[in-house]
Subunit: 254 residues, 2 copies
C-alpha cells in the first residue's frame, strides 16, 4: 500500500519543487516505486524533470475527464513516474467551486493508484487554495520544507492552522511526515538561528538531514534532471539521498 505525501508550504520559494523532484528521484534510486504529481499550475516539477508538453495532466484527472493511469508518464529513471501539471490548473480553482465534493476530487482518483506505488509525492503551489486542499485531503501525511530565512518562520503558524482544519473537515488521518530545513548556508548566522527556532517548534518532527544551499541543485532543473543524475557527487545529491534514507527509516520500509 503506497504512502501519499504532500510537499506543502504556502510560503513561496522554500524548496517545495526542489524537494519533490529530488526526494522522488532518491526514493526511485533506492528502488522504491515512486509517483510524483505536479499540482502547481507553474509546472516546475514537470519541467524540472524535462517534460515540456504538459498534456495529459493532473488537470484532466482532477475534473474527471480522464483515468489517472492514462495521465501517468515514465521518467528516465526506472522506478519514477510523473503526472504533469498544466496551465489550465489556474482556472481549476474557480471551475470546481460548485462541485459538491471539490476538496476530495484528487483523493477519489488517487485511491485507484495507491497499490501500484510505494510512495506518491504531490508538489503543491505556494497557496492554501483548492489545489493544496485537494492534495492535503488526498494525503496520508505532509512534508513541510522550511527555508532557513526569517520570513519562512512567519508562515508556519498559518500552515499548521490549515493542516488542522483539513484534519477536522476533510482528512482525519493526516499527519506531519516531517519538517525539512532547506537552503541552509553554514556561513550565515541567520541559517543557524532559524534552524534552532524550527527545532524548538517542531522537535523530533524535524529531519536530522538538512539540505544545504548548493548551486548545483539550482542548475539541475535547467537540464531537466534531478540532482542525482546531474551531479551525483554534489552536496545536494548527498543531502537528498540522506533524506530519502531517513524518510524510509521513519516509515520502516524494508
Amino acid at each position: 500500500m503506497g504512502k501519499i505525501i504532500s510537499i506543502a508550504n504556502q510560503k513561496g520559494g522554500v524548496g517545495k519543487t526542489t524537494t519533490s523532484i529530488n526526494l522522488a528521484a532518491s526514493l526511485a534510486a533506492a528502488e522504491r516505486k515512486t509517483l510524483l504529481i505536479d499540482i502547481d499550475p507553474q509546472g516546475n516539477s514537470s519541467s524540472g524533470l524535462g517534460f515540456e508538453n504538459h498534456s495529459p495532466s493532473i488537470y484532466e484527472v482532477l475534473i474527471g475527464n480522464m483515468e489517472p493511469n492514462t495521465a501517468i508518464r515514465q521518467s528516465e529513471m526506472p522506478f519514477l513516474d510523473l503526472i504533469t501539471s498544466n496551465i489550465d490548473l489556474v482556472g481549476a480553482e474557480v471551475e470546481v467551486i460548485d462541485f459538491p465534493n471539490r476538496e476530495h476530487l484528487l483523493k477519489e482518483q488517487l485511491v485507484k493508484l495507491k497499490d501500484q506505488y510505494d510512495f506518491i509525492l504531490i508538489d503543491c503551489p505556494p497557496s492554501l487554495g483548492v489545489l493544496t486542499l485537494n492534495a492535503l485531503s488526498a494525503s496520508d501525511s505532509v512534508l513541510i520544507p522550511v527555508q532557513c530565512e526569517y520570513f519562512a518562520l512567519e508562515g508556519l503558524g498559518q500552515l499548521l492552522n490549515t493542516i488542522n482544519i483539513v484534519k477536522q473537515h476533510f482528512n482525519k488521518l493526516l499527519t506531519i511526515e516531517g519538517v525539512l530545513l532547506t537552503m541552509y548556508d553554514v556561513r550565515l548566522k541567520l541559517s543557524q538561528l532559524v534552524a534552532d527556532e524550527v527545532k524548538k517548534y517542531f522537535e523530533d518532527k524535524v529531519y536530522t538531514t538538512i539540505i544545504h544551499r548548493n548551486v548545483r541543485v539550482s542548475e539541475a532543473p535547467s537540464y531537466g534532471k534531478p540532482i542525482i543524475l546531474y551531479d551525483a557527487v554534489s552536496i545536494g545529491s548527498k543531502n537528498y539521498m540522506a533524506l530519502a534514507a531517513e524518510l524510509m527509516e521513519r516509515n520502516k520500509v524494508q
Copy 2:
C-alpha cells in the same frame, strides 16, 4: 496624482516582499509620500516593517467594512505609510466570489487615496487569484521581480498572459513599470545566464539596477526594519536606493 504600482509574480520567493518594503522605504527616504499595501495573506510586508497586530487591515477595506483612510498606519519613516495584511485574506478569495465586481473591489477604494501619495505600492501573494487580480486591476503599472534562477524564467510567460487578460477585461491602461533582477550572485554562471535571458525577453523594460544577493537584506525583516534603516551602507541598501532613483527617473518625478 499618485502612481499605483503592483509588485507581482506568481513564482514564489522571488523578492516581491523584499522589493515592496525596500523600494517603498527608499522612495520615502527621497521624500516621496509613499503608501505600501500588503495584500498577501502571509503578511510579510507588514511584519517586515515591524507591525505585529494586523487589524485593521486591507481585508476590512476590501470587503467594504472600512474606509481606506481608517486602515492607514504610520511607519517609523516620515514619508512611509502602510495598510497591513490580515489572516482573514485567506478566506477573501472565496468570500468575494459572488460579488458582482469582485475584481474591482480594491480599485474602488484606492481611488480615494491616490491624491494623498506620490506612490502606492501593492505587495502581492505568489498566485494569480482574486487578490492579485484586484491589485492589477487597481494599478497603473506592475513591477515584476525576477529571481536570477532557472524556475523564475519559467513563469514569466504565464504572468504576461495574466497581465494581458487584466488589460483586456479589467484595466486597459495597465502597463509594465519594469522588470527587476533580484538575488543576483556575481559568483554564479546561472545568475548571468538568467539575467541575459530576461534582458533578451524584456529589453529596455529591465532596470539597469540589479539587486545583488546580500545577507543583510534577509536579516533586516527580523528586526522589523527596511534595509536602509538596518544597514545603510550595505550593498542591498545601495541597490534599492538606486532602484528608487531609476524608477523616479523613468516617471520623470522631479
